[in-house]
Amino acid sequence: MDQKLKIDLSRQGIFTTTLEELYNWGRKSSVWPLTFGLACCAIEMIATTMARYDLARFGAEVFRPSPRQADLMIVAGTVTKKMAPQVVRLYNQMPEPKYVIAMGACAISGGPFKQGYNVLKGIDRYIPVDVHIPGCPPRPEALMDAFITLQKKIESQHLTGADRPRHLDRDAPSEFVVPQFGAHDLEPSKNPKLWHILPVTPKDQCTLGENGPGKN
């Protein structure tokens, strides 16, 4: 529908919408996160939900104690390799539509503990992440920004077509491989279907060496 016409009609007191808009408005306004924290980022997540920052304003105040009732997993904190299978299992137990926010440096990459022997180098090795938030820990505003970003993503999803949400796509995967405890590392150490990095060209490697942050 033409946006200008829609605005003109609303000035006359006539509200028009589409089923898609209405459906996505409902979905984005009641995202229920899973009660689930792994480290210090969880403290910021708790602060976000309390009176001062009040995540309830965005419809996400109901933290569910069961993955069966949750739509959103906020991976708040360091994911150790020993914990990673449980995180993936919890994600698998959530019903579609489900979303993931990776909160903080540890959840997105391993963070300051990246070279640790028992720290997973980013949860996106095993489950699809919708929003990454950097920070150590991110402030509650950053989590709210991530949440609003997620709402925008939900809002812009079409109910048909290639970019439709996963719960409307019969072939889209809902469960991902749970890593097993191996003799030296988790097996597999990443889910190759999810975790892609661009191959590094020799030119990139030069910049990698000279200027610090690489382009890979």
């Binding site: 390799k81 020993k82 990459s109 070279q115 022997y117 028992n118 180098k121 980013g122 405890f181 191996g182 003799a183 030296h184 590392d185 150490s189 990443k190 975790w195 990095i197 590094v200 490697q205 990698l208 060496g209 610090g212 942050p213 690489g214 890979n216």
Partner: protein, 208 residues
């Protein structure tokens, strides 16, 4: 606490035990006592039960990995060269085998003194890594001995429940040992530098 006095008190109470002072040259001057494996349990029992010392609290147990060390020194040797005796300098290398160490920090709650630092050393780093467990004497050592077993691989004989505590049960390595080789997962490094940069380039070139 005078370590020399404690040492002679232990020697009097536990006959046959071999004790050695390990001096600490740093400003804290926190010297420690190296106890032989065979008598460690009796020594610990004495330290806890002796009315003078009464070290009733074990605050901390930690592991240390000492690698094999090679020291070379120049020695002057007399040699016969073409029938003439000459002094020739020769480099002699001595190899000291490494060992694993468990360090106990003991305090007395009643007497308000401490710490007494107790060291136990294994025979080597590979096969003979058994030490007597002091958990039956200080219960607080239980989880910390498990942690040392997990991360350093010291086996504590007499421990009531010696399982891995931080890593999963299927894990085979001991990650705090200095020769631990970590898994090669350096596919993506946003800000590589120093050793990490080297590892990530090695990974990308497929050198490993």
């Amino acid at each position: 606490m005078d370590l020399e006095k404690i040492k002679s008190a232990i020697e009097a109470a536990v006959p046959g035990c071999s004790l050695q002072l390990v001096l600490n040259g740093s400003p804290c001057l926190q010297h420690s006592l190296w106890v032989d494996r065979g008598h460690a349990f009796e020594v610990a029992k004495f330290l806890r039960d002796d009315p003078e010392l009464h070290l009733d609290y074990c605050s901390n147990v930690t592991g240390v990995d000492w690698l094999d060390t090679e020291t070379s020194e120049k020695v002057k040797v007399k040699q016969l060269l073409d029938g003439i005796e000459k002094e020739v300098e020769e480099i002699r290398k001595t190899r000291t085998p490494g060992y694993l160490e468990a360090v106990y920090h003991l305090y007395s709650m009643e007497k308000k003194h401490g710490p007494l630092v107790l060291r136990l050393r294994t025979e080597d780093r590979a096969g003979q890594v058994t030490l007597p467990s002091l958990t039956p004497i200080w219960r607080s050592a239980e989880f910390q001995e498990r942690e040392i077993f997990d991360l350093y691989g010291i086996v504590f004989a007499g421990h009531p429940d010696l399982r891995r505590i931080l890593m999963w049960d299927e894990f085979e390595d001991h990650p705090m040992r200095r020769d631990y080789v970590e898994p090669d997962d350096y596919e993506y490094e946003p800000t590589p530098h120093d050793a990490v940069l080297k590892k990530s380039i090695e990974h990308q070139h497929g050198l490993k």
